[in-house]
Symmetry: C2
Subunit: 211 residues, 2 copies
């Protein structure tokens, strides 16, 4: 069975758990408690040199150390249902939305969190090199998170799912980002973003969302 080095409360491993659950791929979960800095242990550093979760480990020992890289691998070994697009143009559109969610949404929330709370002091950037927090970046991250939610709401007024008529990885990335904003930064979509809230209820009700 595929092994996943995981942490239940972190957004990036959740992306992989939900993606695998949609495809029915079982994963053997190994928890790395990043709240207690277990990612910096010598044993985990040997597995993931950048000291981040998730890491997927194949039966032959080869590893992938990034959530979206793991998606790409899982899509290839288990194409059904397709979560990264169905034809050439659709694959482009799904990638475009994944990138917008990453750069306008997920990175904004991560900036707000890492620059805004004591727990991440001197860890404002993921990885092994210490970086001081920049308080202005926390403020900017919160503002960008709100703008991201407005942008996503506009999209979802016209589109059943983020990348079109089908549920895709773009929905998973957006769901995890919205829930991360609430859990880590106490930013929830306001009631005025009705299309976003309807979509969020719908994708949260899928069994995979609990994975």
């Amino acid at each position: 069975m595929l092994k996943l080095y995981d942490f239940a409360l972190s957004p990036s491993p959740r992306r992989v758990r939900v993606f695998a659950a949609e495809k029915g791929i079982p994963l053997a979960l190994i928890s790395v408690n990043v709240r207690e800095m277990a990612q910096f242990s010598d044993s985990f550093r040997a597995i993931s040199p950048n000291c981040t979760v998730p890491v997927l480990e194949l039966e032959d020992g080869r590893r992938l150390c990034d959530s979206l890289a793991i998606w790409r691998y899982l899509e290839e070994i288990h194409p059904e249902p397709p979560l990264l697009g169905t034809d050439a143009f659709d694959r482009g559109i799904v990638e475009e939305w994944i990138r917008r969610i990453e750069l306008e949404g997920y990175q904004a929330v991560a900036e707000a969190l890492r620059n805004g709370v004591e727990r991440f002091r001197d860890r404002a950037v993921p990885g092994t090199v210490p970086f001081a927090q920049i308080p202005e970046l926390a403020v900017r991250g919160r503002k960008r998170t709100a703008l991201f939610m407005e942008m996503l709401d506009r999209r979802l007024r016209d589109s059943e799912f983020v990348a079109g008529r089908r549920f895709t990885g773009a929905d998973i990335h957006a769901l995890v980002t919205i829930d991360f904003a609430a859990a880590a930064c106490q930013i929830a979509p306001p009631d005025t973003l009705a299309a976003l809230k309807t979509w969020h209820a719908k994708v949260s009700a899928r069994p995979s969302a609990k994975a």
Copy 2:
């Protein structure tokens, strides 16, 4: 023929031109002079709501508005030579390196530039919403760019190309990022990073690098 809304001096459109050149895909280039703010014109806003280049336009008028989304499309319509991986695991590895280059390299250079020069005052974040510059982020971006170059040098001591034995999109992303750091921020790899410099000379000598 496919149309590319392009700007010769910007890094993101160059990523697409080099990728297409490696595959021998001709593109009809339409220049959008972002130095003169042409991306904010009403006519271009109708093409690219986020006011960014590149945009790929298909013969039927459909569009993709992100460089790596365009890569994904081009890889599907013209698989040879493969630039995003050859089998399931290799596709994962190429994605992992593209993500590292994006997040550790390209974003660091872009932060240094957009927060550090007068030309980007109130445009510290790409897109249509004004954001003030954060001078500390320019300093941090320069430091992260230097660390990125060291990381890439360590990788290239052990690997002929960024993602392994073959030239891939990860090499294109890294080449464009290194050249962007030099042109936009006057940050060049020091001579001590010999593996990075050897690789840079090798990939710069490919005909596609001039595209």
